[in-house]
């Protein structure tokens, strides 16, 4: 589930408020949005992909909140890692063009 909004990185653009398909965030005047409905998070990581500042962190745990320990190693190193893997963001190329699924689909059956 969504666990963190970095106050240092967030520019309060509120793109995540709009992009989240389950309406987890809520805009707050003059500051970063807040995680208003964490239990509605479906752990789809889409907010991270749409955040231009890599200010969000979604823990991979679907059914409960992450413990402080599970959140800790996350912060700096892993924020934005998924967006980078997908190749979204300025100066990057979408990795869809490197998708090797056709190699795997041919060998899976």
């Amino acid at each position: 589930m969504i666990e963190l909004i970095s106050a240092e990185r967030c520019t309060a653009c509120n793109i995540c408020v709009n992009a989240c398909p389950t309406n987890v965030f809520e805009a707050v005047a003059g500051g970063p949005p807040r995680i208003a409905r964490q239990d509605d998070c479906q752990t789809c990581f889409m907010c991270e992909l749409y955040c231009p500042e890599d200010a969000l962190y979604v823990a991979p745990i679907a059914d409960r909140r992450a413990t402080a320990e599970e959140r800790e190693p996350a912060t700096a190193a892993l924020m934005g890692s998924y967006r980078s893997a997908v190749g979204w963001g300025r100066g990057r190329t979408s990795t869809a063009s490197a998708d090797a699924s056709y190699e795997l689909l041919g060998r899976a059956h």
Binding site: C20, I61, Y82, A85, A96, D99, A100
Partner: protein, 545 residues
Amino acid sequence: MGARDFLQHSALSATDGQRRHEADVLVIGGGPAGTWAAVSAAAQGARVVLADKGFCGTSGATAPSGTGLWHVSPEGTARADAKAARFAMGGHLAEHAWMDRVLAQTWDNVERLKEWGYPFPADEEGRLRCNSLQGPEYMRLMRKRVKASGARILDHSPALELLVDEHGTVCGATGVNRQSGETWVVRAGAVVIATGGCAFLSKALGCNVLTGDGQLMAAEVGASLSGMEFSNAYGLGPAFSSVTKSLFYNWATFYDRDGKPVEGAGSSRGRSIIAQTLQTQPVFACIDRADAQVRAWMRTAQPNFFVSFDRQGIDPFTQHFPVTLRLEGTVRGTGGLNLVDDSCATSVPGLYAAGDAATRELICGGFTGGGSHNAAWALSSGFWAGAGAAAFGQDARSAGAHRPALRAGGVALNTRGATPFDSQAVVRAVQDEVFPYERNWFRQGEVLDASLARLDALWAQLRGSAPAASAAEAVRAREAAAMLATARWMYRSALQRTETRGMHRRREHGALDPAQHHRLLSGGLDEVWVQRQAVQNEAAAEVTA
């Protein structure tokens, strides 16, 4: 004005809805099927509004995933082979003509995706390979195409109920914007239901927006469903994670807690063994049959697969991690709204259905692994439904744009009881009946009977409860009611099919019964009905030969 104020009465007044829109076609749902429907309807010159419960571009099962695509060359025997490959697995219920048209339309639509700039990968010979789509990229592109088509997108705007005229022809919908709380009314000449399947809020990847809302609304105006017994697909994934992407488990070994391989367990044919074993003990997987080349391909094929592992500090190629099966219901099942012609019309005039909201038995029979066929179905059926709705909607609106409209919503909207509707309790009660493997993976007459008795009683209770007290509560109450309705169509159909066919497994009827080579239509809300319908499939013998 909250939802309650306008929901007491059933006639729509000219001042209802804080936001009002007029359109030839209203598309409800903004995943692959909905976006293709919008683009296709707009190409016919229709004025189009697309309303998504979440955000068109991130909503639905496709956006956060990678998905295979049933993209098969017309050359040689490739298509005949592709049709034959899963025909028996689907219980011989697919239809030759529909498979042909989906393969042809998918081929055409992929040409459009290329023109629009989707970056398909090229193989070593430089040929573009188009049998996989990266969800985020694909759906971001589709949102752009919907906008470019001139269609208007309403994000975070769940529909609550359909509107019908005095003849029962569908003429729009009402809903709310769940961020602003404003109510909306779209008067439309035709409506396309593209709200996806129902995965019962199981948190399978991208599936929590998929609660069967469109099926409930359609049933309220008299539409029927088909194949609802084929509704017990479970996605395989790490126990802690939402990522139910199962392709890579073809390279996995499954273990018990002592590190001993579980006999017969596998991702495809051995998944029943996993379901059986999970009833008494945890099951672990390790993707230890992938060599270095396969591992490298996996990283590029599904970046999202590795996010979970990397963040939990697990190496899935060398470490054993616990797995679970999450219910994906009719999302990876094949049951959905019944279609009556090539334009994806339902039996209700003015109402069309596409994607996972519609039955996929026409191309899959009673089994699909999701992805591939469902993705091809979404972009084909969306395309046809959009065109069909455009033709119907433009005619209907030129015949009389301001027909009086009636609100068709029942449960949680137009009810008169005093007991509050506890959405969370309803959701939990439905999940208790549909999640357990011993109820739904393996089905049995008396267990289905017991579930149905409780589900029917719960429905009766909801029909006598108070209407939702606010817009936000109305959305959740309708989701809960849609899940409940879906569970009842599922189990009533499952009870009727006294055999094992496709994904539907009956413990006491373990074999396929050739006498039950038919479809099961279902519908109704206060009284759920099920009836048989013949399969239109003259060419079945040829396919199986």
